[in-house]
Every structure is written in structure tokens, then in C-alpha cells.
Symmetry: C2
Subunit: 501 residues, 2 copies
Amino acid sequence: MGKEAKLQELKTILAEITDLTAAGGLLGWDQQVNMPPGGAEARGNQLGTLQRLIHDRMVSDEMGRLLEELKPYAETLDPASAEACMIRVTARDHDKELSVPGEFVVEMNQVQALAYQAWVEARQKSDFSIFRPHMEKVVELAHRYVGFFPPAEHPYDRLLDNFEPGMKTSEVKAIFDAVRPKQVELIKAIAKKPQVDDSFLHQAFDPQKQWAFGEEVITKFGYDWNRGRQDKAPHPFTQDISVDDVRITTRVDPNFLNMMLFGTMHEAGHAMYGQGHAHELERTTLATGASLAVHESQSRMWENLVGRSLPFWEHFYPRLQEIFPQLNNVPLKKFYQGINKVQPSLIRVEADEATYNMHIMLRLEIEIALVEGKVAAKDLPEVWNAKMQDYLGVVPPNDARGVLQDVHWSSGMLGYFSTYALGNLISAQLWEKINQDIPDLPDQIRAGKFDALLGWLREKVHRHGRKFEPQTLVQMVTGSKIEPAPYLRYLNKKFGEIYGL
Amino acid sequence: MGKEAKLQELKTILAEITDLTAAGGLLGWDQQVNMPPGGAEARGNQLGTLQRLIHDRMVSDEMGRLLEELKPYAETLDPASAEACMIRVTARDHDKELSVPGEFVVEMNQVQALAYQAWVEARQKSDFSIFRPHMEKVVELAHRYVGFFPPAEHPYDRLLDNFEPGMKTSEVKAIFDAVRPKQVELIKAIAKKPQVDDSFLHQAFDPQKQWAFGEEVITKFGYDWNRGRQDKAPHPFTQDISVDDVRITTRVDPNFLNMMLFGTMHEAGHAMYGQGHAHELERTTLATGASLAVHESQSRMWENLVGRSLPFWEHFYPRLQEIFPQLNNVPLKKFYQGINKVQPSLIRVEADEATYNMHIMLRLEIEIALVEGKVAAKDLPEVWNAKMQDYLGVVPPNDARGVLQDVHWSSGMLGYFSTYALGNLISAQLWEKINQDIPDLPDQIRAGKFDALLGWLREKVHRHGRKFEPQTLVQMVTGSKIEPAPYLRYLNKKFGEIYGL
């Protein structure tokens, strides 16, 4: 069999894997959007079967043999070609899945199921001791998981790699070590200034009108409704089913504008990324985002760099006031300041741009310490509260609003959190480059025009899908790897102006 | 490996097949209810992959070996046990799928795709010649399909068997030969009587109120919303995803009450059947209906025997009038007569109870003649129109409203139509038995109580799923195979009263 035929064979298997993944994606979307409660048990079985079939195909001998035979061929190709990337990325996925024994995966699923239940109860009762034994198990599993692979520079690298392929703990640490003192400094400086008013955001806003305004905004952004849809969900998310079917969900608070507004823009940012993968990548392992951080850079860019900017509101605020006349007595500048209010707070998902990263750094430091064995699960509440005091000057009154606030650990996930902060950094880094390439971007935004921006993102980021690792992609596009300076510049300039620093 | 272990192995494979089938079911449902238009091509790939995986599992050597080994074991079991039925039914499915070459299935899918497109265009232009070459291909495929199996009593048996397992053409012919003259006689007698008025059904009815009334009705029927939901769809259908997730769709005509009303009851009838399969049958080949005719007996019973009955409206009409005060000047009796108006017409899906079966018999006779080679595809418009004149005294003004009205043939489906008429017959046959077992059923319906009726259907029909072939099931429940007498008695009594025959 010639190389071309082997490549075709690999594509056939990947097409099958992708179709099964898409089916699983729809089942998951439906579970959160449409499924009647009674369907839950059967849905669990259906998803389990699909996951098993996908795994079986990914670790099959046939796949291993094909990849071994194709690796030398890939060396002869342009390394940036879809074929070369497909072989490289698939080989990486294959090796990784093959390294983890099936029994371990089964055990992890069981631990997760119990840990999640315990977390729900622990958070309800604000009692960490209920979750503690499960967290201990999660940490133990993380240690064992790391042990399935050859030693890395740092054991946490293996966990991080599941979300940021190729990224090292030392890189993330270096980045955050540079960010932390500057961001703390900024927060302290803001705290000394008079606080801005955002009370007008907390009043009754008709949910249907909110929804319609959100649709109007993301339609102008360029979210393609012919290849997507928006539904309500208690925990908003974006679901890729194919490049031509990328769905968003959102939620509406009838007494607070921000939830719908910035949530919708955030999810649309994710979704436009998904809608922008090149069609040649379809039905391969490459038709998805480069990493979670790169994905988050897209959602955060539309939500914050665009959606919380003054030019954006110069265009949209009159329309918002038209829909909600109760804002007529709130001048644009006051509105802009209000949606950008900085206030150290307890809950990550409610944090503003200036304080958000501090929540992430705290979690990352704790995770690394857990993996290094320097912190034990039992010490988590104490460590958490001490760091909150250090970084944000606030201390949770109970564990529900502290160490128990996030679902991630109960899903057995260590390694995820840093992607949120890295996404913020990447978004600002891309933004500086975009503004060099499109010098009149602020004017375009002020005129409600987003096609040049979306076109740039399509060309530089979206179409590549998962062809490149995140650091490679960021380097290709901006000329350097992920770096903290642009985000710090962005924060200092923006909040310097708002708070008069 | 002991028999128990082998049975477990079979169950494991069937669970996987059922999960993949459920995923395919959800993908299909979503395609008609939620999918953005752009997603169509990828959805086709996804469904194709699932179908192929299901087929591969069903015809696998492993499945064949297991079934061979388990058949003698099944002989030792109670033949009505879930295990014995599962082995028997699965062996039948396996043998059947194995008989049809994979290339044929691929060819059939291609022919179907083109035939469907041609049918859409032909119907639009009302030009049978556009569809004719495709119909010839469909008939040729039907002949070749029949040829994959050992000769049966009649070649059409092989096609019928795909929808009514075990049913013979000779049985269906005998039934319809008994029905036809009596039903023609009834229609002629009605035609001589003064026509009833149904003009009040054709006026503006608020769509949301219609929807809410439909929900009210089927909630009283016992449709379980915890295990189902209702959505809008252009062509209403019911989708089983699991026993605990059976969804219905409906459509609303803002100027005609019947479409929503009887459509909703019809689909709820299908859905309550699906919600009623015994949980022990879940994740096996048995957790579905016995046949299309038995399924149709359930939908038709709730739609017609219940929903178009006088006791039903004695209960619901005051509520309907409350919602739609424009009906206040229409007395109950007049309303009842209106919704039961008999009028020979051109379109099957719009036909009333008295004329509906004639549409079916015409199609069945044509299909059998096509398979016997006595009629050629090119003769279809002529044969169609002649039979319409014979049976209903109306002749289509064009092919769009005649031979091109149904989608079925364009999907390569021969053998389907009779299930609609058989469903009507079975519904009346069950109804006579139910009324013997629950003598005060009309009073219960008059009081809006349906739990005894649904309980009877659950016990006698629903819980068995696909354990028994349709004739076996009907015999078990009513004491005789499918017979025409109860339906004729029902029609004669009901329309005798309405039209004063």
C-alpha cells in the first residue's frame, strides 16, 4: 500500500472518530438544553458507549501501525501542511491515550462520579470535610496519571499538557510570576481611588429584550446563524458539532444586564472560532481549537477587548438605551465605567478584568503544590483563604464561597485553571498585533463594523484549527510566545483612564 | 464459556447497538427540530457513520457465532421470556441484514438520494416524467432486494416483512379484500346523505392557545413529560431516544384546528407506546414497537377512537369553548359531526376515517402489481387515477395531487403503506377487547379519566415491546389475528349515527 493509500486509511478512521465525537457533542448539548430529566440514565450509557468506541479506535493496533508508517512520510511534507499536522497531532493523541490503562480510566470515571456528588453536597452545606476524602483521591489519581508517562521537567507538565499541548509548568510559572506583582499593584492603586457606580446595571431588564439585543450584537460580530443557534442553559457553553454547526447557550438574569450581555459575547467568541476552522480540516483531529487558552483568548477578546471597550459602546449604547429607556439618564461614560468596575471579590466567575487573573494564579499555585506534595488536600481551605487575603485582600466567610466554589476538581481535573488566565494574556497579545495590522480598528468598532477584525482572526488563528501547539501559534501570529506585557499594558491603560491613576 | 456468559456477551453487543441507534435517533430528531441549515452535510456523514457501525455489529462474525450458540439455549427457555425473544428477534435481524450485500445498501442509498431530489422537483412541477426513471430504479432495486432471500410465498412478502415481521401478502390481501367492498358501500351511502358542516373548524385559532390545549389533552392521556417533550416540526413525528426519553413533534395551523389537535393526540399515542416498554427490554433489540402497524394502532386509537369520540368531547368541549369563545355558538353535537365529516378527497394525509383506508388499498395494490411486474413505473399516473375514480369517485387534476403526493417511494420504500390501514384495523380490534375488559370506559372518558385505558395498553401491548410479531401479539391480546370486522363495525356504527344511515 502506498503512502497516499495509507493516508487515506488514516483519514477514514479519523472521519469515523470525528463523527462519533460529533454525535457525543450533540448528546451532551441536548443533555443540557433539551433532554427531559427521565432521560439521564440512558444518556449516560449512550455517552459512555460513544467515548469507549472513540477510545478503542484511537488506541487500536491499526491506528498505531498506520501512524508508524506515516511518520517518515510526514517528515517529507511541509510541516505546516494539513497532512503533516494531522499525522503529528494524531500520533501525539494516540501515544497519550495508549499510555493510560483502560482500568485507570474506568476508575477515574468512578472517582469523578462520587467526587462530583460529594462536592455538590459539600458546597451546599459549606463543609469541606465532605469533599476532602474525594479530593485526596483526585490528587492521588493525578499522581498516578503522571506516573504513566516518562518523567517530564515537572510532573505538573503532564496535567497541563491535556489542555495546553506542549506547554511547560516552568513557562506558565514564569509568565504568572511576571504578572502577579504588577496586577497586585494595579488592584491596590485602584482601591485607593473613589469607586465607580454600577447600580444602574442592577435593575429590571426585560429578558426577551435582553436576548434580542444580545442576538443583534453577535450578528454584527459575524456569528453565522446559518451554521449555529442560541439556546438557554443554566451554565452557558459553546458546542461544536461540526464546523458548520456551532451552537451557543446563554442565560439571562432579569435584574442584571451583564450576565446575558457579556456571556453572549463570550460564547459567540468561542463559536466564531469553531465556525472558522478551514473546511479541509473537517472530519480530522484538527477541526477544533489549538488549546483551551487559545479558545479562551477568542471568547475573552470579544467579551472584553471588544465588548467592554468604549468604541463598542459608542456604537451600541444608543441602541441599548432605545431598548431600555431606563438607561436614558445614564451617560455613556458612566455606563462604560460601570461595566468595568473593579472590585476584589470572592467568586472567580464574577470577577472583573483587573482581578480575574489573581483567582487563577491562586488556583494554579495550589494545584502545583498539590502535585509536588507540598500541600495536602486537608490543608486546602486554609491555604485558599491565606492566598485570597494576600492577593485580593478578601477572605471567604465560608468554604462554599471559597475553596468549594469551582466544579473543576470534583471532575478530577487538575491542570485546567491556568488556561483562563493564559487566554486573557493571549487575547491582549493578539489585540496589539491586530491594532498594528488594522490601525483604524477603533473607528471600525465605533461604526459597528467587525468584518476586518473577524477576517484577521479567521486568517491568523481560526482556520488553523489544531494544526499548531498554542505557543507555536502565538509565536507565528505575534512574533513571540505567550508574554504578559501586552495584557499588563492593556489593563494599566484601561483602568488607569477609568480610575484616574 | 457458559450460556449465561454468552447471553451476557450478546447483551453487551446489543447495548452498544442500542446506544448507537439512540444517538442516531437524536441526530435525526435534531436535524428536523433544531439543526441550523449549514449543518446538513456533516449531519449526513455522522448519521452514515452510525448506521455503518450498527450494521457492522449486527452482521459481525462474533454476533453470528453467539446467536448460533444461543439458539439451542433459547429453546430451553420460556418462549415468551425476554431472553428467548431477544435471541429469536436478534437472530432474525442478523440473518436478514447478512443477506443483503453491503454494496447493495450503498447503491440503494445513492438511488434514494437522487430519487428524493427528483421527486421534490417532479411534485413541484407536477410532472411525473421527472420522477419516472427514478421510480423504475426503485422498483428494480426492490426486485433485486427480494432476490437476496430464498423464495417466499409471494415476492412482496420480503418487502412487507421489513415493516410487519412475519406478515404475508396473502394475509394482507385477504383482510383488505374483505374491507374494500364494505367500505366502498359505506362511503356511497354517506354520499347520498346531507353533508355535515365543518366550516367553524376553519377560522382563526391562536396558535399558542392551540398548543396549550393540545398539551392539556395529552397530559390527561398520560403522556409523561418527565420522559418526553414536544417541539414544533414541519412534518410531525415521534422519536424514541430511550424508554425514558420519547419526544413528539407537532405543527399548528393558525386557521384550522384539526392539524394541531389530532396531530398531537396521534403522536402522543405513538409516544406513550414508546414510554411503555418494560425496562427489562432496555438496551436490547426489543425496546421498540412490535411493528409499524401496531405502532399505528396506538396513534390511531388515541387520535380517533378516543379523540374523535363523543364521550371525549363531552369532557373536553367546554374547556375548548372556554379557550376559544368563537365556538360558543357551535353546539357539541355539531362540533362532533364536523370533526368527523366524511368526504372523498385526493390527499391521503387529509383523509377522514371512513375514506382513509381506500387510499391505502390503492397504494398496496399498485405496489404488489409493480413487484409482480403487472404494472410498470411509466403506467403509474394512469393506474392511480383509475383507482381513485373507482374507490373514491374523485380524480386528481394533476400528478402532484395524485401519484406524486407521498414521499415514501422516493425513499426507496415499497411495503410501508399497508401498515397505516392495518393500524386502523388493529386499533378497532383492541378497542372492542378493551371495552369488554373496561365496561365503563365511555363513562371514564366522559369524566376525563384515561388511566385505566393507558394501564390496559401498557399491560397488554406496550410493555412487550418487540418481543412478539404483530400477528402473534394481536392474537395474544384479542384472541384472533388481525381481522377487519371490528373496524367495519366501528365505522358503520359511528358514521351510521352521524349521517343517519
